[in-house]
Point group: C2
Chain length 108, copies 2
């Protein structure tokens, strides 16, 4: 498979400033974005197993997020199928990985 991610540069919602951090916060602030990156942090997953990992989130949103994350260069669809992080995506993932420890202490 390994289809190329579309090049439709959809304007990043709520980030009329053009500042990269805003675009990034906006992209990561969409539903399931952070979760997807998190679930892919260790190994590539098929769309189905990713869906399972994400509490059976609806495939509609997952596909939308996956497309956006691919266009952003964080996620790629491997030749043999299955979604994985790009080097850039892995880097991003490690950036907010400390959240894990924070969350554990937080508990709520």
């Amino acid at each position: 498979m390994a289809k190329q991610a579309g090049s439709t540069t959809r304007s990043v919602r709520g980030s009329r400033t053009g500042r990269p951090i805003m675009a990034l916060l906006d992209l990561l602030g969409r539903r399931w974005s952070l979760r997807i990156l998190w679930e892919l942090r260790e190994e590539p997953l098929t769309s189905r197993s990713l869906r399972t990992a994400c509490d059976e989130a609806s495939p509609t949103v997952l596909q939308a997020r996956l497309t956006e994350l691919r266009e952003a260069g964080f996620v790629e669809l491997g030749d043999g199928g299955g979604y994985g992080l790009t080097p850039l995506g892995r880097e991003l993932c490690e950036t907010f990985m400390p959240l894990h420890r924070f969350a554990e202490r937080w508990k709520r």
Copy 2:
């Protein structure tokens, strides 16, 4: 003012697992959550100036997010008015602060 944040523990969407990281990713994955924390990173802001900083986002969502973030213990409403980060919130904010540098290199 300094009203107490409501104690209605609204179940954190999509985190039926109970794992703290999921609850955190879910909370931060709602619209404007990350952005609010980001805008409050340096100094407290009034609800109005926060709204201005967030590209005039609708007060409906901002209030909803602020309430959730207060219930989570990340944001507080100061006695003299104005929203600011709690020590915990400041800690969280620093956790994903490296995103800034990442975003600058990312550019898209």
